[in-house]
């Protein structure tokens, strides 16, 4: 039951892709350089040779057309997986995502569903500057009609794709680019795997660190540090940003009575802000102190390492925010 396989996040994504492609003829992968190049992050390396050009499609640099074509193919009975190299490029496809993928089911009065999966690399920390480093997943989480998953662990990278493909509506999977080389054990038992529920990654009685994706490991590091100082933090991994698992958020806050929300998006209008609002609405009476958040600073991502580090949430900032609560 507790069988485990050690692998990288990248290889987990690739295994998920391979499994999806092998298991269902309707599934195909398309995006920029997913084929011969092997994927900008090598997630699809080797898949072209295995599955051929019809199912591993290198697209021109036409984000709007190939995302829209994915939506059309989904309408036509296929199960496309579309890869967008970096979240900043997804902005060129926003029309198709917001105006078509999210609306077609509703506008058609329930006649058409759009079972597309869009994988997007996201996040900063690699000194790529202000056009390749942002975390815009909360923009997508804002939109009724689509769903948003943010695998923060190797196990989630391995199994979330399959669940997303089973879903009849558009599912966006945001993969933090810093996670691709991370190595960990995959929990092979997927019988109880539910991507739409938040998970407590570490239990603790004193404070809830509520986070997702690339900030999960920062929170776990911060929790370890806090523990050395006698503060036991519970780390809640949201995993799904839409729908948000409000029950798990409120449950954790009700146990710890303190919460810090950690999110790589900019502070203003962030997912953190939404989580805080949900806590205010549903667990205000449980709070011993006001909720805090650690987000990215309000600046386009700078290039220089020390500036980029300063712009992003870091374990030290999380530790400091927690300590101010006691």
């Amino acid at each position: 039951m507790t069988e485990k396989t050690r692998t990288t996040y990248r290889d987990a994504v690739r295994s998920a892709l391979r499994e999806a492609l092998s298991g269902d003829d309707r599934v195909f992968l398309m995006g920029e350089d997913v084929g011969r190049y092997g994927g900008a992050y090598a997630c699809s390396h080797g898949l072209l040779a295995e599955f051929g050009e019809k199912r591993i499609r290198d697209t021109p640099l036409s984000e709007s057309a190939f995302v829209g074509a994915g939506i059309g193919a989904a309408l036509g009975g296929m199960r496309p997986i579309v890869e967008i190299m970096t979240v900043n490029f997804s902005l060129l496809a926003l029309d198709q995502i917001v105006n078509n993928a999210a609306t077609l089911r509703h506008m058609s009065g329930g006649q058409f569903s759009v079972p597309i999966v869009v994988r997007v690399a996201t996040g900063g920390g690699r000194q790529l500057g202000a056009q390749h480093s942002h975390s815009l997943e909360n923009w997508y989480a804002h939109i009724p009609g689509i769903k948003v998953l943010t695998p923060g662990t190797v196990t989630d990278a391995r199994w979330m794709l399959g669940e997303a493909l089973k879903d009849p509506d558009p599912v966006f999977i945001f993969e933090h680019a810093l996670l691709y080389p991370v190595e960990d054990d995959i929990e092979e038992d997927r019988t109880a795997f539910d991507p739409w529920k938040a998970k407590v990654r570490r239990s603790g009685r004193d404070v809830s660190l509520i986070t997702y994706g690339g900030s999960l490991h920062k929170c776990l590091n911060a929790a370890a540090e806090l523990s050395a100082d006698g503060i036991e933090a519970e780390v809640v991994d949201l995993r799904s940003l839409r729908p948000l698992d409000t029950g798990s958020i409120l449950g954790s806050v009700s146990r710890t009575h303190r919460a810090v929300v950690v999110d790589e998006g900019w502070r203003t209008g962030s997912i953190a802000a939404e989580v805080m609002a949900q806590i205010m609405e549903g667990a205000f009476d449980e709070l011993d102190v006001p909720v805090r958040r650690v987000c990215s600073e309000e600046v386009p991502m700078p290039y220089a390492k020390h500036l980029e580090d300063a712009a992003l949430p870091q374990p030290e900032k999380i530790v400091a925010a927690v300590k101010e609560m006691f």
Binding site: V67, G72, G76, G109
Partner: protein, 340 residues
Amino acid sequence: MSEFSVLKTEQIGRAAGENIELLGQILLIRRFEEKCVELYSAGKIRGFLHLYIGEEAVGVGTMSALKDEDRIVSTYREHGHALARGIPAGSIMAEMFGKANGCCRGRGGSMHLFDRTKNFFGGNAIVGGGLPLAVGLAIADKMQNTNAITVCFFGDGAVAEGEFHESLNLASLWELPVLFICENNLYAMGTALDRHQAQTDIAKKAGSYAMPSETVNGMDVLGVRDASMRAAELVRSESKPFLLVAETYRFRAHSMYDPDLYRTKDEVEQWKLRCPIANFQKYLLQTGEADAATFEALEKKVEKEISEAVDFADAGEIESVEDLCKDVYTPFQALTSQGE
């Protein structure tokens, strides 16, 4: 065009009575929309209402060249496409009334008509937004080895959008069965073609994407029909896209909000001389296929159909507000009809 193999017009046979059927469809669209104007003034239809009056021959001619399994992607000016495709007038009217017996249960309105049973994938109100969808539908057909083609309507204004260029390139690059139909009515709202295009010969743009194209007189339903048949045959048999540009004109303003200040009355009157109804009727009289009685009978039939449509819409229930958020997401079991 010479390098592309196209069938000759004469090779396309026409069954007896077919022309009368085409005229009937054009009349239905014209009278339906005239009724819409009345109902708009009466406050029964709200929102944006874009009339197709003057352009009917394009939709009717094209649809007559298609098969049931073919797929349609359209624009916000789509009443004519929807009617010509066979979506019942009542279900369209009820949709515009915002009723639950409308084709989209009152969620879409005039600009967003959908009908799964007719392979009609909407009414898209983002200029150019439907083109990528059409490319994707054609990918699905190609990968599933169906014999269907996808027909994608858009206006001259859409040609300025990046999605037009991205989509034509992708369709041609991947050899996808899409028939792109540009309804060139010479205006994008109030902006004339020569004020938004450096190259006003739209068909020429296909050349950049190694795609065959043709320009057809959009006021002549038989010309459109023949050109569509040739194009559809090519798209279907060779599994490659084609751009058909229909030159046409809208006799009415862009929408009910438009004061129509950007063109002269004289220009509009000149185009009205090319009315797709009057000229087709004249032709049918000449060939002896019809007489005054035929036309009168058609008008009667159409009038009855529209009056029934209005009754159907009037009688419809409204969707319960409790169901406001229905159909944002799909109940899992509901997907079985979409290729499962």
